[in-house]
């Protein structure tokens, strides 16, 4: 057995069913192993750009909860993965990135297609390995998947020199046990901390649950719902936590932060207890930290010790898996009712719901409303980055975790389309929608070819404002309308582009066309469908708390 074959064997042991990647000189022995009958159970998806391979692995991981795998050759192949790896570390996505490398003897000699991918990715991986002996491959793969998928998940890189992938592995030994002495997990909540938290909760009359990706990653939504209902606490879910709590539930406050709802931000402003679960007090949520939730004590439930007290001091911290901590909190907390607080929140919701001016033009929010209605909040939704991302998050009524795929921490334009495809591979029977912008879509549109060739049909709602909309919004609000580098013109004709790839393309220019177009797209299951929604380019995302400011400075609507 060669090193490449040992790699494939180990990947099968980890339950890998799909690899996204592109071959090349240093990766040839690995791709050769993937061509052999032993690898038949692995779906080998040839992408059109390695960045997309990394995002597909992320999309697969987010939708399935399993570890996603991407593969690239040395040098440019490996460096093309870098954005996806950086995205995965910031959003805690479990992926294993495998790179070919020049032969061991050539490392350090500036050989053809050599790049120090270990060094380049060191600050953005959870861990990385360069394989020096083929016999180590099974153990390294085992460790890599374990590290990627446990605790706070993240990307792990395995760099495999070409000679190692070709070398003879005498005996394939897959380790049963894993022992990594420098890696310890803190999954079980300490009962004393839970007790202390329950006491704070019992004393609170205005609690808010502020929940994020940690609840999604551990699929702790049922425990969260039970706790929220038991202690009668409204729930705001961050951009990474959408789907952790059902938006149609009366306790839902939708999203907090820069483009969060007014009522979520007001609730955080006025609450006396902030129960933060699987979140990291990111600046897009908190704005000016010294003005964030100033009246509240904080309980912080978090699996990564480094996040506790990092941005905000916690009065009680619970170092644990969100699921375990929430389960124990449900048991420890006494039932409570907060009628005054609930009334206040209901009043805020009434006073300032998400809204937009419906003036006869094609409004992006309207598209989201119809999409929400037709799919009844059940679709898997991937997005890119920009205004469309915020409208999608604000208006879609999420029901469960792993329904929502977005690039939060890195804010990576180009993430959405490949992520949607990765999700479709993970959940082939589900309806997968991509909500994207004309800027973002052009960063990975070459994957239309992959979607056709490998029959990975997704539905694309392209929010076309002929510009880099979010940047334009900032230039209009903060730079006196001085436009600089935001005009994308009317190029290309997206519907024709989709058709050129063998996909279905539809153009929508008026509100009346929205529903039929979405309905038509929902009926097509065997091909990717792209709807080019040419919406009102003047539309802004509201509410908005300008960067670094606080809820006092929240802008509700233009000129308000």
């Amino acid at each position: 057995m060669t090193g490449g074959e040992a790699l494939v064997e180990a990947l099968k042991k980890e339950g890998v069913e799909v690899i996204f990647g592109i071959s090349g000189g240093a990766a040839l022995p690995i791709y050769d192993a993937l061509a052999k009958p032993a690898a038949a159970s692995i779906f080998n998806v040839l992408v059109r750009h390695e960045q997309a391979a990394a995002h597909m692995a992320e999309g697969y991981a987010k939708a399935s909860g399993k570890v996603g795998v991407c593969l690239a050759t040395s040098g440019p192949g490996a460096t093309n993965l870098v954005t996806g790896i950086a995205d995965a570390i910031l959003d805690s996505v479990p992926i294993v990135a495998i790179t070919g490398q020049v032969p061991t003897h050539a490392i350090g000699s500036d050989a053809f297609q050599e790049s120090d991918i270990m060094g380049i990715t060191m600050p953005i991986v959870k861990h990385s390995y360069q394989v020096r002996r083929a016999d180590d491959l099974p153990r390294i793969v085992r460790e890599a998947f374990y590290i990627a998928g446990t605790g706070r998940p993240g990307p792990v890189l395995i760099d495999i020199p070409r000679d190692i992938a070709q070398a003879e592995v005498k005996e394939f030994i897959y380790p049963e046990e894993i022992s990594i002495r420098g890696y310890s997990l803190h999954l079980a909540a300490d009962p004393a901390d839970v007790e202390a938290a329950a006491e704070l909760i019992a004393r609170s009359s205005k609690p808010v649950l502020y929940v994020g990706g940690g609840v999604v990653n551990t699929e702790a939504h049922e425990e969260l719902l039970a706790l929220a209902e038991k202690i009668d606490a409204p729930v705001t879910s961050t951009l990474m936590g959408r789907g952790a709590f059902p938006d149609r539930h009366p306790l839902s406050l939708n999203m907090p932060g820069m483009h969060g709802t007014a009522y979520a931000n007001w609730a955080i402003r006025d609450c006396d207890l902030l129960i933060a679960v699987g979140v990291r007090f990111d600046d897009r949520v908190t704005g000016n930290l010294s003005k964030f939730a100033t009246n509240a004590k904080v309980i912080h439930v978090e699996v990564d010790p480094a996040e506790i007290h990092k941005n905000r001091h916690a009065d009680v911290s619970i170092l644990a898996d969100a699921k375990d901590a929430l389960r124990k909190l449900v048991d420890a907390c006494a039932p409570a009712q907060h009628p005054d607080w609930r009334r206040q929140i209901a009043q805020w919701k009434e006073q300032e719901p998400l809204r937009y001016a419906n003036n006869g033009k094609l409004k992006p929010q309207y598209i989201m409303e119809v999409l929400s209605e037709l799919t009844d909040g059940d679709a898997i939704l991937a997005t890119d980055v920009g205004q469309h991302q915020m409208w999608a998050s604000q208006y879609y009524p999420f029901k469960r975790p792993r329904q929502w795929l977005t690039s939060g921490g890195l804010g990576t334009m180009g993430f959405g389309f490949p992520a949607a495809m990765g999700a479709k591979v993970a959940r082939p029977t589900e309806e997968v929608w991509l909500v994207t912008g004309d800027g973002s879509f052009q960063m990975n549109l070459q994957e239309l070819a992959t979607s056709v060739c490998f029959n990975i049909p997704v539905k694309i709602a392209l929010f076309n404002n002929m510009s880099l909309g979010m940047v334009k919004q900032w230039q209009e609000l903060f730079y006196d309308n001085r436009y600089s580098g935001i005009d994308l013109a009317k190029v290309p004709d997206y519907s024709a582009l989709a058709q050129a790839y063998g996909c279905v393309g539809i153009t929508v220019k008026t509100p009346g066309e929205v529903r039929p177009a979405l309905e038509k797209a929902r009926e097509i299951d065997d091909r990717t469908v792209l709807i080019d929604f040419q919406h009102d380019p003047a539309e802004h995302v509201y509410p908005m708390i300008p960067s670094g400011q606080s809820v006092q400075e929240m802008r509700l609507q233009p000129n308000e």
Partner: protein, 171 residues
Amino acid sequence: MQNRASPQRKHTISVMVDNRPGVLARVSGLFARRGFNINSLVVSATQDPEISRMTIVSMGDDAHLMQVVKQLNKLINVITIFDHTEDDLVERELALIKVRATVDNRSEIMQLASVFSASIASISPSEETMIVEATGDENKIDAFLATLVKFEVLEFVRTGKIALVRGAKST
């Protein structure tokens, strides 16, 4: 509400790491990326051939130290970290100091050296130089260097700090 600021001071930590290539880069890279300063860093072998010890001195407040320790702990190759802020330590640095030593002042330098229990590592009478070797904690080395200033210090080199906790407690 926010992390309360505590005074800036030098913190000494011992970081036990896997003795593997690339680990030093991971540790020093983390300091650079997170904006943590390194006052000194010494890597050394330990009684266990698979483990190396890094003795790191970093300046900052207590919240800073907590972040340093927690972020280091996230590195898979970091096995354990000992924070010595509250420990009773034996701390040492080693310095080699090259001074201009003429026939006239040579004995004075040697006398000063003996006050600081420093030794003479080398004498080159023809070139009128001398290398003095001193060990001790940071203050002692600083003081010794200061007294040598009145002679001509041609160059010097000093190591970072190494440290062990007194008594049976293992570090």
